[in-house]
């Protein structure tokens, strides 16, 4: 069974079609990047897949569960780390982690244990008693991803995980994301070509609500005759397709 399958997935806002008949397959354990300029339909696609918005037409199955007919089941399989910082600022790192574990049904001691595990994995131990709002952007982003992972999702959506981070913080976060490969399915949206290239198994390029190309970075480069993913992306943009 694939992690994600979409069939004619469409979202319309009045006269505007944000996502138009999307046909996408993501394999289990794969790290799949979605690329596209602003307004290409990436965020709307993620919102439909994470049950935040209902499709206007079509269907999406996450590990066989329908986002239209079984959204509650889908929500038990997924976690989302949004682009903006999504932490409770006046709670400590520990309290943020335990809150998310508790929301997903963990008892008090289990939540505490899970928080400890995730803190160790993301090197957050020394920050555990600091309020999340007082952490630097890099630590907040790290906490945000740890909060998503504490739910033990089968599919993780990472929306622009390293946006605004410095080079060092980005490299550290890349390591954390790489470590997830094979363990869970990760859908990554990013504007950074080097990020998509460094982290993902396959890349989907979206434009005008449609999925235009899918392949590895090397395949996309070969197809467009470009010498880098960025050049390949620009070539697609110049064709007026993105």
């Amino acid at each position: 069974m694939n992690a994600i399958e979409t069939h004619g997935l469409t979202k319309r806002y009045g006269a505007l079609t944000a996502v138009d008949g999307l046909e996408l397959t993501v394999r289990r354990g794969e790290l799949f990047a979605l690329l596209g300029v602003n307004g290409a339909g990436k965020t709307t696609t993620i919102k439909m897949l994470s049950c935040l918005t209902r499709p206007s037409a079509g269907e999406a199955l996450l590990l066989g569960k329908s986002v239209v007919r079984e959204p509650e089941d889908v929500k038990r399989l997924i976690a989302v780390s949004p682009q903006e910082t999504a932490v409770a600022p006046k709670l400590t790192v520990r309290e943020n982690l335990e809150l998310m574990a508790g929301i997903h049904g963990a008892g008090r001691s289990a939540a505490r244990e899970k928080a400890r595990e995730l803190a160790a994995r993301f090197s957050l131990e020394e920050q555990m008693d600091r309020q999340a709002g007082k952490l630097s952007g890099g630590w907040q982003r790290r906490l945000s991803i740890a909060m998503a992972l504490i739910l033990e999702p089968k599919i993780l959506f990472l929306d622009e995980p390293t946006l605004g981070l410095d080079v060092l913080a980005r490299a550290e976060l890349w390591e954390q994301i790489r470590a997830l490969k094979g363990e869970i399915t990760v859908i990554l949206t990013t504007h950074y070509m080097e990020e998509a290239e460094a982290l993902s198994d396959r890349i989907g390029v979206m434009g005008r609500g449609r999925l235009l190309r899918v392949g590895s970075a090397a395949e996309l480069e070969a197809e467009t005759g470009a010498d880098s993913l960025e050049a390949a992306f620009i070539a697609l943009a110049k064709e007026g397709k993105v």
Partner: protein, 244 residues
């Protein structure tokens, strides 16, 4: 139930860990109480008598609850924390209750501190003070619902203006805390009697005076406003949830 408790604890921590909450929620009403009592001690007219002033300021203090809860909700919306939570199996009722329930004990604590301080300033002790605390529950319901309503509709900056300035002024001027609205009359009196704040203060004063049973009409107005505002707040919350 467990999820509501978890989220409610988080709401309480977020609010109580903000030093502005302690200042406006507890400190400011006490400063007003002390200041107006000092003024009363130096004037011959009975303008700010404690048995009228303390119930009034207790209700006025509750208006800051709207500010606290609306600010928290608008920040949660702005920071994408709610977006993250919407992708978990939580249901709308969990969110709505968690933004309302923790404010109730805070309201009771606020009133307790206000009446306690009034006793220190010279308010005669009466068992009716327990009734005053009891009427805090329906009156605070209005302000708690207003917090959820404005937090769902407005952004952080707008909440500061509407709840921090407009609502506290409306509560202060149209409730009869500082002066008898009957003396003003006209449209001012009509507006005061249409809105729930005047009735909240009248209810608290009647509770202290031991004449609550004679003034139940104020309770019905307060309860009707509480129910209407809660319905409006739930609609606004669900609307913004769908929009996300």
């Amino acid at each position: 139930m467990r999820q509501t408790a978890l989220l409610s604890r988080r709401t309480a921590k977020e609010i109580l860990r903000d030093p502005l909450t302690l200042f406006f929620g507890l400190g400011f009403p006490l400063i007003l109480l002390a200041l107006l009592t000092a003024i009363q001690a130096n004037i011959p007219e009975k303008l700010f008598v404690l048995d009228q002033l303390a119930p009034g300021i207790s209700v006025f203090g509750l208006s800051f609850l709207s500010l606290f809860s609306a600010l928290l909700l608008s920040k949660d919306r702005g920071s994408a924390l709610l977006l993250r939570l919407y992708t978990t199996p939580l249901r709308p009722v969990h969110y709505i209750l968690s933004y309302m329930l923790p404010l109730l004990p805070m309201a009771l604590l606020q009133s307790l501190v206000c009446y306690g301080f009034a006793l220190i300033l010279g308010l005669p002790w009466s068992w009716n003070l327990l009734l005053c605390l009891a009427v805090t529950i329906p009156v605070s319901w209005i302000f708690i619902a207003l917090g959820l309503l404005f937090g769902s509709l407005l952004n952080e900056k707008q909440v500061g203006g509407v709840c921090g300035a407009l609502l506290t002024n409306l509560t202060g001027w149209l409730s009869g805390i500082w002066f008898d609205v009957n003396l003003v009359g006209g449209a001012f009196l009509t507006a005061a009697k249409l809105l729930p704040f005047y009735h909240g203060v009248a209810l608290a004063r009647a509770a202290y005076a031991g004449t609550l049973t004679e003034h139940l009409d104020h309770l019905w107005v307060v309860l009707a406003w509480g129910a209407a505002l809660t319905a409006a707040a739930m609609w606004a919350f669900l609307r913004q949830m769908r929009k996300n």
